[in-house]
């Protein structure tokens, strides 16, 4: 439980500073950045695996690593969005909300009981709705927050409904006991569908994706990034655990359900991403398509699945955060958020343009970036069941997505129409982008990060 303790300690520290005399914004931010880095490093050193609270809290090596990934992402977000964070009038509130959500996610990844899962899920999502509203002057921000709270409340209700039926048919809330009691009866299939729908909501898989674009566009950039990478990543970790653990014996039933959702998610995400002009909405739809690939990797029921999903989430964090980081920097300094205005960014800001291009390559799955490997593993895993037509249909989406990712790369390097001023990233932003870039280039070519994940599983 080391990771949770550390997150809690940072949370309390921020709270105490807020209640006391307070610190200068930038000092507080640097402190949090430092503490997050430190706790990420410490969390990587391993954690005890004894179950706590009568099996409510389970911690395996893979779960511990997944929490480190989430912490790492939180650290990157604190680095990359320093412009917004320093200027925000509610920095401590923002940090407290974000850290409580992170804490919820850590507990969620380690939950061994449906009750625990539900509680930590609520802890993970409710603060995000408040954080989405932190751009107090903008109507869109409130609109996004409203949509987020309504849809998460609804999906929590659906989840509870599903949980109640699981309890009704198996007589327990404990994952281990439930796994033994799952026999694929119609009632349990229905219960599974409710549980799955709740997760599909949180991960914004089609047809439960409708809230995504509006919320992403309305929320402050760091919150959008958090929703898009950390929140989705943690949901993916939990879902793959549930599918490959508790519901393993029902895999024949959920495989076909997943197939439909994967194809719908990929197609809808891609088709909408094709036409977006706003960079945040664009990233929202592209992230929907990425979720399709995550789900694709879950369809093969063998131990490689969770490793592939964890690796993909890590690479996805690096790639997507770099794109968000550049977008946030450009938006904070110039107010530009529409894609056509990025035309010619390479002329005035070669560093930012290259970072953006690299992250788009990685998101599109172009070698030698790590995104290629991560996506390939998910596809190989998805093909394990032998339904090649299904995997072909999914993989065709890579070709489609190439079109819209490359469209932006082309814009970045074209001749500018109106010049974008040269923007100098703050040191922390530069560091964050460089970490992303190194990760995107090396995490694929060198196999040891994946190998490490695979030994944990």
């Amino acid at each position: 439980m080391k990771t949770e303790w550390m997150v809690m300690a940072i949370l309390l520290a921020v709270l105490l500073f807020r209640l006391g005399r307070g610190l200068a914004q930038s000092t507080l931010l640097s402190l949090v950045q430092l503490l997050l880095l430190l706790s990420t490093a410490l969390s990587l050193t391993g954690d005890s695996t004894t179950p706590l609270f009568g099996g409510m809290y389970l911690n395996g090596p893979l779960a511990a690593f997944q929490k480190s990934v989430l912490l790492f992402a939180a650290w990157m977000i604190s680095l990359l969005f320093s412009d917004w964070q320093r200027e925000s009038s509610h920095l401590s509130e923002y940090l407290i909300l974000l850290l409580s959500s992170l804490l919820g996610m850590c507990f969620m990844v380690s939950s061994g009981n449906l009750l625990m899962l539900y509680l930590s899920l609520e802890l993970a999502t409710i603060p995000m709705a408040a954080a989405a509203n932190l751009d107090l002057g903008r109507k869109r921000s409130s609109e996004g927050a409203m949509k987020l709270i309504l849809s998460s409340a609804f999906s929590s209700g659906v989840l509870l409904f599903g949980i109640s039926w699981v309890y009704g048919t198996t007589g327990s809330l404990d994952f281990g006991v439930i796994a033994k009691g799952i026999d694929g009866s119609p009632l349990q299939t229905l219960a599974f569908m409710f549980l799955f729908a709740a997760f599909a909501f949180k991960m914004s898989a089609v047809p439960f994706h409708l809230w995504t674009a509006d919320v992403y566009q309305g929320s402050p950039m760091p919150v959008t990034a958090y929703l898009s990478v950390v929140s989705k990543g943690s949901m993916a970790f939990v879902l793959v655990n549930l599918l490959h653990g508790m519901f393993r014996s029902m895999s024949g039933a959920w495989y076909h359900l997943l197939m439909v959702v994967v194809l719908a998610t990929l197609v809808v995400g891609n088709l909408f991403a094709l036409r977006q002009q706003d960079i945040k909405r664009f990233l929202a739809f592209s992230s929907i398509a990425q979720v399709g690939f995550i789900l694709l990797g879950m369809t093969g029921v063998r131990p490689l699945g969770p490793s592939a999903v964890t690796y993909f989430v890590l690479i996805y964090i690096l790639s997507n955060l770099a794109a968000f980081g550049v977008a946030a920097l450009v938006s904070a300094r110039t107010g530009i958020e529409d894609i056509p205005s990025y035309k010619g960014l390479a002329k005035s800001n070669p560093f930012l343009a290259w970072m953006m291009a690299l992250s788009l390559f990685s998101l599109a799955g172009i070698p030698p970036t790590a995104g290629f490997f991560a996506k390939m593993f998910l596809i190989v895993e998805g093909a394990w069941q032998g339904d090649y037509w299904f995997v072909v249909a999914a993989a065709i989406n890579i070709a489609v997505s190439l079109y819209y990712y490359m469209r932006i790369v082309r814009l970045l390097f074209s001749e500018p129409e109106k010049s974008i001023p040269t923007l100098v990233p703050a040191p922390s932003e530069r560091l964050g982008l460089l970490v992303c870039a190194v990760g995107m280039v090396l995490a694929g070519l060198l196999s040891w990060i994946y190998d490490h994940i695979s030994t944990l599983n």
Binding site: P367, V380, Y388, V392, I396, Y403, M406, Y450
Partner: protein, 494 residues
């Protein structure tokens, strides 16, 4: 000979190109790297011939490194004669491509970086023995093509770049599915991407035919398999000169090599099942490409459509399934790579001076630029298969191989394909005659300069390759012959 050098040199070149302080130094870094790559490939050729003459067979200089053990992905390098020939071709085209782009000033670091990256992808592709690594390198080469066309191209560059990227990416998906299905079809669950393992598997005939179709169509798109050739004319004509040279000289060869290595060699039963279909499609491509070329008025479109026709010969050689024809297919890849790269280089030189590519707006250019005119003749004559130049050797070998099959169907196909040479002669001679011969059509053209030093060197490198192949075909035959025969033997076995 350590094969990692073949990959390390372009990688270092890429780093050098990106890290030199000033943009104008990038071209020197790129040139130095390209020359080093050529030297390394010649070194490889010498060592390979030594090893072969001392009795070694199969894939030489193998180097293995576990990459992603969970997925049985390895970094497995190794070359046979066919790969050595392709590596040599790549090195020649890279040197020439860098040289013709000598005066490229817009974002020159990125430009030379992309050229080097494209070359790196090709080298890796030709010496990989692991299907996954091969696919990886194939994809490495896709994005540079897109960006070269989209950013430095001319005409309808955005349309062409998108068309190329989407068609090649779609083709890649087919290839990917093919190799994944192939991997999972391992007997006894001994999954592997390693081609040397896969070649030893007993795969049922119906599985082979299904997977063969996926892989062959995928790689076929890269090498302008009819009816998936439509990206070729647009892509080639919109690309900058070096881009067209790389596309036609290297990139289309990735497809031909992939068809041969990943589809025909690994799945012989599939190849036998689809052989006749391939013959029909390639004869259509050969004739259709030739006749469409007749109607073109833009020099780049002429060469692009003639590439469709010439690459049809590669596929025809593969589809004929005999030793001579398969060897001819490899020779045709080398020959077409050199000849078409030279042709595109010459067109680029002409365009840089006259600012037009329309045949009707030129005439009598030989008076102003005799050197360039001679180069154009050489490329054209090789294209129409004149003995003494590379095209003749390759096409002859394919025709002999096709005739050897002995059935009426294959002989008829061979005759039809051979007839395209007449059409080729018409369009090549007409284009050269109209642009180079006769009196100067435009007065302004009399003051044009002849080729500069870098253009001369670029052209000479390619011409040397063409002549070496045309005048002394034995060495190349010795190089690719045994390995082409090894592939053809597997076809005959069942």
């Amino acid at each position: 000979m350590n094969l990692t050098a073949i990959l390390a040199i372009p990688t270092l070149t890429l780093l050098a190109v990106l890290l030199v302080p000033r943009a104008r130094q990038a071209r020197w870094a790129a040139l130095a790297g390209a020359v080093a790559q050529l030297a390394a490939s010649l070194w490889l050729l010498v060592h390979f011939r030594e090893a072969r003459s001392s009795g070694d067979s199969g894939f030489l200089f193998q180097w293995q490194h576990a990459w992603y053990a969970d997925w049985n992905i390895q970094f497995h390098l190794g070359v046979d004669g066919i790969s050595v020939a392709m590596i040599l071709l790549t090195a020649l085209v890279v040197v020439a491509g860098v040289l013709v782009s000598w005066e490229e000033e817009r974002m020159s670091k990125t430009f030379f970086g992309l050229l080097t990256l494209l070359g790196l992808g090709a080298y890796g592709f030709f010496c990989s023995l692991d299907l996954f690594a091969m696919f990886f390198f194939l994809e490495v080469a896709v994005v540079p093509k897109f960006l070269l066309i989209a950013l430095w191209g001319s005409g309808r560059k955005e349309y062409s770049a998108n068309k190329l990227a989407i068609m090649l990416m779609g083709a890649s998906v087919a290839i990917l599915m093919g190799i994944i299905a192939l991997m999972y079809s391992a007997p006894g669950g001994q999954w592997s991407f390693d081609m040397l393992h896969i070649a030893g598997w007993e795969i049922p005939a119906d599985t082979q035919t299904t997977i063969f179709a996926l892989i062959f169509i995928g790689f076929g798109v890269f090498t302008a398999l009819f009816p998936f050739h439509t990206w070729v004319p647009d892509g080639h004509s919109s690309a900058p000169t070096a881009g067209s040279m790389f596309l036609a000289g290297i990139s289309m060869k990735l497809g031909g090599y992939g068809c041969l290595r990943a589809a025909v060699w690994l799945l012989p039963k599939g190849a036998v099942a689809y052989g006749d279909t391939i013959v029909v499609l390639s004869v259509v491509a050969i004739l259709y490409g030739a006749f469409v070329t007749l109607m073109q008025t833009d020099l780049k479109y002429i060469n692009a459509y003639s590439s469709v026709s010439h690459c049809g010969f590669v596929l025809l050689g593969i589809g004929m399934l005999t030793k001579a024809a398969v060897a001819g297919a490899v020779l045709q890849m080398v020959s077409h790579g050199l000849m078409t790269a030279l042709f595109f280089a010459v067109i680029g030189m002409v365009y840089a001076r006259t600012h037009t590519r329309q045949v009707s707006e030129m005439g009598g250019l030989m008076r102003a630029m005799p050197f360039i005119a001679v180069l154009m003749f050489l490329a054209g004559l090789s294209s129409l298969g004149l003995p003494g130049l590379s095209g003749f050797v390759a096409e002859m070998s394919i025709f002999v191989g096709g005739w050897e099959r002995g059935t009426n169907f294959h002989q008829a196909a061979t005759m039809l394909a051979a007839m395209s040479i007449v059409v080729t002669a018409v369009y090549v001679l007409r284009a050269i005659g109209a642009t180079m011969m006769g009196p100067l059509r435009q007065e302004a053209h009399s003051s044009l300069t002849d080729a500069a030093w870098y253009e001369r060197v670029a052209a000479l490198v390619l011409t040397a390759g063409m002549l070496a192949m045309g005048l002394a075909p034995e060495w190349l035959n010795e190089l690719v012959g045994p390995d082409a025969a090894a592939i053809a033997d597997r076809l005959a076995a069942p």
